[in-house]
Each structure stands twice: as C-alpha cells, then as structure tokens.
C-alpha cells in the first residue's frame, strides 16, 4: 500500500544522459525490461532509437493517403458540380466536362488535403498541443531540447517499480531524479475569461450578419462600397436630361444628314412602292387593309433584286427562321406556335391565330404589299423589318409566292406527271387535337370546341 502511494505521488523516474550512445543503451534495457509507459527525450531525432525503444511504425502515411484520395474526390466533385452541373460553362463548344482542364486544380486540392492531414494528424497522434506536462516543471529537463538526453519511465506503467527502474537506468545515466506529479493548476486570470468570452461572441457577428442577409428581405437598396462604379457620371441611352433643350440625353442626327448605311433612296427596294410615290403606314385590317389605291404597290420585284434559285433558297431559309414558326413551313398557318396556342386554347386570352398564306386573300396581295407586311406586320402580327435585311425580306416574299403556287391546291394539278402522289397540304380546319397536343383526346373535327 505504501509503495502504491509512493507511485501516485511521482509522475515517473527521469534519468539524464550526456550522449547518444548511453541513451540508446539505456533505452534498449528499458525496452527489454518490458515497460510500456516510458519515453526517451532527445533534442533531435536520434537515428536508430525507434528500434532501440521498440516503437511501432506510425499509421500516419495511411491517414495521409486516405485524405489525399478524399481530396481528389472533393476536387473533382467541386469542379464537376460547379462547372458541369450547377452552372454550366459553354466555352467555344467544348464539352461541359473534360478531365484535362481539371487536372491542375484537382492536383492542388490533393496536395492541400494531404499536407494539412500530415500536419494535423501528426499533432493528433502525438496528442499535441499539450501545454501542461509535469516534465516541464523540472529545471534540469529544460536542457533536453538543447543538448541533453533523458528517459522517463512513468509511474502509470503497470510494471512500474521505482527502485527497479532506477537500477535499470543507473548504469548509463549521468543524473537521475523523480518527477513529481504536477498538482499546481495555473488558473487563468478572470479578465482573460471575460475577454475570451467577448471575443467568442464577437466571432458570431459576421456569421449572423451573413445569415440575416441571406434570409431576411430589405427595402433598402444594396450597400455600395465604392459608389463611383455603380453610379457613373454619364447619361444612359433613352433617358431624359434637362441639360439639352429638347430634354433628351441622346442627340438626334444633324439636320440634313443621314447615318451611314441608312440611305433609303431606292423606294422599290426599301418600301415596295414605285419610286417617288408615298410611303405607306403600317397596315391594319380594320383601316381598310393595305390602303387600297392610295399607294403604288410594286407588282413584281425591285430591280435591285435578282430572282433566281439562290434567292428562293435564301428565302426558304429565312422564312424557316422568321415566319415558319407561326405560318407553318408550308404556309398553311400550322407553325409550332400556332399549334401550341390551339392546344392550350389561347384564344380565350385574346390570341389571334396566324393566317394561312395560301388563302386567296393572301394570294391577292401584290409583292409590294407582302413586303410591307413582312417589314411592318399587319394588325396583330409584328413587323420583322428590324431583324431582316431588305434583300432577305424580298427573298422571303419570293418564297411565299413559291409556296402559294405549289401548296394547298384543292386537287391535283392536271399537268402533274403520272405516278406522282398528290396529297393536299392540311389546313387549320383539318387539324385534330391529337396532332396539336399529345395529352388531348383524338378524333374531333371542330378543334376549337374540343380544346380543354
């Protein structure tokens, strides 16, 4: 019992050595004596002491390997999620996800994870930081980080017997002492606790501000750190400014000048009317359609436009881009937009269906009138003049004429060669809901009535 008590009082027996050889020899003896809770303390890593102490190889490399692989997975996942999944970058038609471009960052993340792991796992395995150690209380022990060596056999070891330990260490040591258990507890001053509590609370302020900013709504405009970027000293387009007499911030062209490329002196080409005649306004059905005899509409094509196969081909292409979505590829008024509108019964909200372009009324338009409609629209249809160049609009007119001549014929033309199948192009009346919409029931002949 008394022996046990004595063991409780001391942390262990510490022996000091002056050189590498003696500490190694003592370490071997302690190892052979079967102690487990002991250690050799040296100012630098002594070569061969691991074997002398019987230290087992550390698992640190495996931890680092594991975290390195984790880093690789994280690096790849991060890049895939951010650039190929959540916010896809389209760059020069390259694939959304291509490994070579992701190698550098993946590599860096692997290194980052492994290096941090090597450091922090080293601390963890060594149970550091460990600021309060009874050994630090021994004045003699301080030289161990400079030029001396020490072995401490701890009292916690089940086989610990102070006298036996002293006998084992005695052969090589130059000095020996008992290390008392550290009973002093250095209490931190009160102000330290107060300051730390305040600092800890303060660290939550930025986080809570971020959380508030994320989830709360605010009437106030965003805070401008440096306002000169958001509010620049300049006038924006289409705004007013009292600085000019007319109150606009933008200027009109100088009187009597025409901007480059905006000269409209060829009336046939630009307006579809005879040279020098009046330029018609936008057409609407209720205002008597195209204005009747008031305008000298062009019957054929402007002299600047050569009607040939290339023009028709161009017209087919442009028509497909700009007109076909509503009027249908064959001009029957069954473009994708029209069908969809039919399927959802858009007329209830005021939708106006595109007209078929093969109707007699459409056929009756002069070329000039068709051009005018393509440029400025008619009633509910908007104009495409701002998007399509005049020559391309004439190409579209030529193409519309071509489909009027070839499509929607009530019966096979007499001069059709033998053996050619003729099928009339469907018109809006023939559309059954099954074609317009997959989820609508099939079979009705009155599309409007069947729509849901």
């Amino acid at each position: 019992m008394s022996d046990q008590k004595k063991n409780d009082e001391i942390h262990g027996v510490v022996a000091y050595f002056d050189d590498v050889d003696s500490v190694m020899s003592a370490a071997r003896k302690v190892r052979d004596a079967g102690y487990k809770k002991w250690d050799a303390y040296t100012p630098f890593p002594v070569h061969g002491i691991d074997e002398a102490m019987g230290t087992k190889p550390t698992i640190l490399p495996w931890i680092v390997l594991g975290m390195g692989l984790t880093g690789m997975a994280c690096g790849l996942l991060l890049q895939w999620y951010t650039n190929a999944y959540d916010y896809v970058f389209l760059i020069s038609g390259k694939p959304n996800w291509s490994l070579p471009a992701n190698i550098p960052v993946t590599f860096e993340v692997v290194i980052l994870f492994s290096a941090y792991t090597a450091f922090f796992a080293m601390l963890g395995l060594n149970k550091l930081p460990h600021l309060s150690n009874p050994l630090h209380k021994l004045p003699k022990f301080r030289r161990v980080t400079a030029d001396r060596f020490a072995i401490c056999v701890e009292a916690k070891d089940p086989n610990f017997d102070a006298d036996r330990v002293r006998a084992i260490l005695g052969a090589d040591t130059s000095e020996m002492e008992d290390c008392p258990v550290d009973t002093s507890r250095a209490a931190l001053p009160l102000w330290f606790h107060a300051v730390m509590a305040l600092v800890t609370c303060a660290t939550f302020i930025p986080l809570s501000l971020a959380v508030k900013g994320r989830f709360a709504t605010s009437e106030k405009p965003r805070y401008h750190v440096w306002p000169d970027m958001d509010f620049q000293r300049k006038r924006k387009t289409q705004t007013g400014w009292e600085g000019f007499e007319d109150g606009r911030s933008m200027r009109l062209p100088v009187e009597g000048t025409i901007p480059r490329g905006e000269l409209r002196d060829d009336f046939e080409l630009y307006f579809g009317v005879a040279q020098g005649s009046s330029v018609p306004p936008r057409a609407t059905y209720d205002a008597g359609s195209m204005g009747g005899e008031k305008h000298e509409w062009l019957q054929s094509f402007p002299t600047a436009v050569v009607v040939d196969e290339a023009l028709l081909e161009r017209g087919r292409e442009r028509y497909g881009i700009y007109c076909g979505v509503c009027h249908g590829a064959q001009g029957n008024g069954l473009g994708a937009v029209a069908l969809r509108a039919k399927a959802i019964d858009a007329e209830q909200w005021g939708w106006v269906s595109p007209k078929a372009l093969q109707s007699d009324s459409a056929k009756a338009y002069t070329n000039g009138e068709l051009f005018h409609i393509a440029s400025h629209g008619i009633s509910s249809m908007k104009g495409y003049g701002s998007q399509i160049t005049p020559k391309d609009r004439w190409a579209i007119v030529a193409f519309v004429r071509a489909i009027q001549a070839s499509q929607a014929l009530p019966k096979a033309p007499g001069d059709l060669p033998e053996g050619v199948d003729f099928e009339p192009v469907p018109t809006i009346k023939d559309v059954r809901l099954s074609e317009a919409s997959v989820d609508a029931p099939a079979g009705g002949t009155e599309p409007a009535g069947e729509a849901r």
């Binding site: 002056d18 190694m24 303390y41 070569h47 916010y87 970058f89 290194i111 290096a115 941090y116 600021l131």
Partner: protein, 491 residues
C-alpha cells in the same frame, strides 16, 4: 547595408582541396550541441535594448517602406487601378511582373527544404529554415499584387468557389483560377512546413527563456513539445510526407503561373516551353535571393560556422546551373520562333531583342546568362563580394525577364493599330519598392525572434548525433569529435 565585419568577405574556400573528402557540414573546432544551440538561440535572446545597430537601421527603413506601401494600396483602392500604368494594350504591367517575380523567389525555400531533403542533401540543414521563411514572405508579397490588381478588392471572394448572390461559380477551365488554387495551396502548405519544422526549435527557445513573456509566447507556439522520441518518430514521418508533397507542389506552382501566359494565344506567350522554363527561372531567382539574404545574415549574427562557405559554394553552383537552363530556354524560344515559321511568333521574338524594349531584353540576358558564368571559377565562388553582386544582378535580371515576357508581348499584339509603349507610373515604382519593405520587415522580424537555423536538424548532421554501434562503454563526450573532417558522417 553596412558591413560590420569586412574581413569575413573574401575568405578562403572551405574544406580540403582533395575533392574526395567532403568538408564537414558544421565547421569549427569543438562545436557541440550546446554551442550550436547557443549560437542560434543567442540571436533571438539578445535583449531588446542591445539589438544590433544594423538590424535597427534596416528595420526602420523596411517599416517605413511598408507604411508607404500601405498608403499606396489605400490610394489604389480608393481611386482605382487607373493609378497604375496598365492600359491598352498592356493591361498586365508591373503588378503581374512583380507577382511573378516574388512568387519565383518563393520557390527556393521549399525546393531546398523539400527536394534536397528527399534527395538527402544534408548540407541544406544550415540554410533551409531561413530559405523557407524567405519563401513565405515572398509568397506574401506575391499574393498581394494579384489581390489588389482585381480592382474591386471587396469582392475578392469571387475568386473562390463560394456560393454568392449572383448564383455563379468561377470558371475552372481558366488558368487564372488554377493560379488561385496553386498559389494559395503553396502559401499555406509552405507555412505549415515552415512552422512544423520550427516547433522543436521553439521548444528549445521556450526552455531557455529568461522571462515570462518569452516563455509564454514560445510556449504556446511550441505546442508543449518535449522531444519525446515517440513524437519524433511520427514527426519525422510527417516531415517526410510533407517534403514529398511539397516537391511536386513547388514544381506545379510555377508551371501553373506560366499557364497564365502560355494558355493564351498571344505570340511570345503561347509556348509549350513555359512551364519548365518558368520553374528553372524560379529556382534561379530563389537561390539568388537566398544568397543575397544569407551572406549578410551570417556575418551579422555570427553564423559562419553553421552557414558555411560550403553552403555558399553549393548554392553558387546551383545558381549557375539554373542560369544555364534559363539561358537555354531563351535560345530555344528563338529557335522555335524561327523553326515554327509563324510570322507572328518570329516577329514577337525579333521584337523582344531588337524592338522598343531591347534594353530590357539585354539587361535580362546580361544579368541572367552572362554574369553567372563567373561561377565557373572556384575562386570567385569563394569571394563573398562577387557572390553578393552576382546574386543581386540575378534578382534584377529575373525581374526584367518577367517584364520582358509580360510587356513586350502585350505591347505588340496581333493588331498593329493597338500597339503601344508601356510606361509605369510613380505608383507602380513605389509600390514595387514598398513590397521590399513588406518582405524585409517580415524577414528581419524572423531573424530577430525566431530560430534562424533549424537547430534540431543541424544537430542530426553533427558527428556526435550518431550512435557508435554497441561499444557504449567508451562513448564520445559531446563535442569531442567534431573537429575531424567528418567525411563518413554526412552521407
């Protein structure tokens, strides 16, 4: 800088003339563990009032320059990047040149600590700590430039893949983003590496502390290190792993920096030789900086027996070797420009050497290729004045290399109508000078308060550190055998 001990300059080469006998790593008669500890720890233990005069003067200058840098940054942020000379067509001017310059310098440290550690070049132990510190401070300077170059520094977090109010992510196909990852990984891993190496030495400082402030400060940072052999075991493994990780890292960083240029289409930048060429240049400039710093430091702080003439000799040789590599890269660039037969490329290179910026090009060639040839002579390698001058001209030359690459190519791009001539503003110049203030402030503080030499590591390469088989009956008393030329110990 005033040289307090001129007699030390121009001392004779160390060791024997017989090349088969290696000079010992730690020089001097009767060196032992305690004297090494005393020499290194003594520097940090000088009481404040007895601080070296030269140190105080240098520190005062550095801190003033640092303050100037701070004011300039404020000026830049509140006014905008227009205060720099960067403008069409040279949008990358001095800030990027300075960034590459500093990040290049920051390579030697990790190279010395990691690659030379892995290849068991034990001579590194004398210089690695200071070189690592230099790395970190140089990377700090480097990181500053792109940081303030982005213009709106308050949104610098956009550089990182953080969720933000725009619901956008950065583009991982951009070399500039790779750079963010490479440089920040490099900075933080070097910091870990440096700090971890320092923990045992900080414990030495703690145990020698004469007052409470020092005891607490070093005590906290040494994490309670005792020198336990079980700790050393894990520690050494971790150090080896860190070295193994830092080696490819150090090579990758400057490669990625070179991608900033090489991945673009600009003639003069768009070349495959850039990554190895940049890495060689980085090592070159890094070693030059180590020499520039270590030669005065060893004089002032009495570390001549730890940072020996042999260290300086080896570093001079590395300097010359990397200088030759860089020179090779210069010539191969010209060869490829001619051999590739692309008129834009050949124009870019002819323009480099003979165009508007011919002076910068020839300063670069003179400093980086011609002057280091002096080191073929062993005598000149042993003359510290020569070494000092060559290391400084190398630094100058390497700055000009980056200037030549960045500015000559940009100022003469594909469209002749946008050609221009870059001229820096006073802010450019003073900011670059200020970055030296930042660097030297940190470095001088390091010299003054931290273990300048890896004390524990130096001890491992001393002859007494090795056990002598089983004959422990007659053990050496510490310090007994150091005087002998220890050729068999330093393998």
């Amino acid at each position: 800088m005033t040289i307090t001990d001129p007699s030390a300059f121009g001392s004779q080469p160390s060791g024997e003339d017989d090349p088969s006998v290696r000079p010992s790593l730690v020089e001097g008669v009767n060196e032992d563990f305690s004297s090494v500890t005393d020499a290194v720890a003594g520097i940090a233990e000088i009481p404040v009032e007895r601080t070296n005069r030269a140190w105080i003067i240098c520190f005062a200058i550095s801190v003033s320059l640092l303050g100037m840098l701070g004011m300039l940054i404020l000026h830049l942020i509140t006014t905008g990047v227009g205060v720099w000379g960067n403008n069409n067509p040279a949008y990358w001017g001095w800030p990027i040149v300075n960034f590459v310059f500093w990040v290049g310098i920051g390579h030697a440290g990790t190279l010395i600590s990691a690659i030379l550690f892995l290849t068991r070049q034990n001579w590194r132990t004398g210089v690695n700590r200071a070189a690592e510190a230099m790395t970190i401070f140089a990377v700090v300077c480097a990181g500053m430039f792109p940081g303030i170059h982005i213009g709106r520094v308050w949104v610098a977090y956009w550089l990182f893949p953080l969720p933000n109010q725009m619901a956008m992510w950065p583009n991982f196909r951009s070399p500039l983003l790779w750079d963010v990852f490479a440089v920040s990984t490099y900075a933080s891993v070097s910091l870990l590496f440096w700090y971890m190496g320092m923990v045992p030495d900080l414990a030495t400082f703690r145990d020698r502390a004469v007052n409470n402030t020092r005891r607490i400060a070093y005590g906290i940072f040494s994490l309670g290190w005792t020198g336990s052999s079980r700790h050393w075991h894990v520690y050494e493994r971790a150090y080896l792993l860190l070295a193994a990780l830092a080696t490819p890292l150090v090579l990758s960083v400057h490669s990625v920096v070179s991608f900033d240029f090489a991945v673009s289409q600009l003639p003069g930048w768009h070349t495959t030789i850039f990554p190895p060429y940049f890495v060689a240049g980085a090592i070159f400039s890094g070693f030059a900086m180590v020499l520039t710093l270590m030669i005065p430091a060893r004089q002032f702080f009495g570390l001549k027996h730890i940072i020996t003439m042999r260290h300086i000799d080896v570093m001079c040789r590395i300097l010359m070797a990397t200088g030759l590599m860089v020179g090779y890269a210069y010539s191969i660039e010209f060869f490829i420009a001619w051999y590739g037969g692309v008129q834009y490329e050949s124009f870019a290179f002819v323009n480099r050497a003979f165009g508007n910026y011919w002076w910068a090009y020839w300063i670069m060639v003179t400093c980086n290729v011609i002057i280091p040839q002096l080191f073929w002579s062993k005598k000149l390698r042993a003359n510290l004045w020569v070494v000092m001058i060559v290391s400084i001209t190398t630094n100058i030359g390497m700055w000009f290399e980056r200037f030549v690459i960045a500015v000559t190519s940009l100022s003469r791009d594909f469209v002749p109508s946008s050609w221009g001539y870059f001229s820096p503003t006073w802010v450019d110049v003073t900011m670059f000078i200020g970055s030296f203030g930042l660097f030297f402030t940190l470095f001088l503080l390091f010299l003054r308060f931290l273990p300048v030499v890896a004390i524990a590591e130096v001890k491992t390469v001393m002859p007494q550190a090795h056990a002598h088989g089983e004959d422990h009956g007659e053990s050496h008393s510490a310090g007994g055998s150091a005087a002998a030329p220890a050729s068999r110990h330093d393998a």
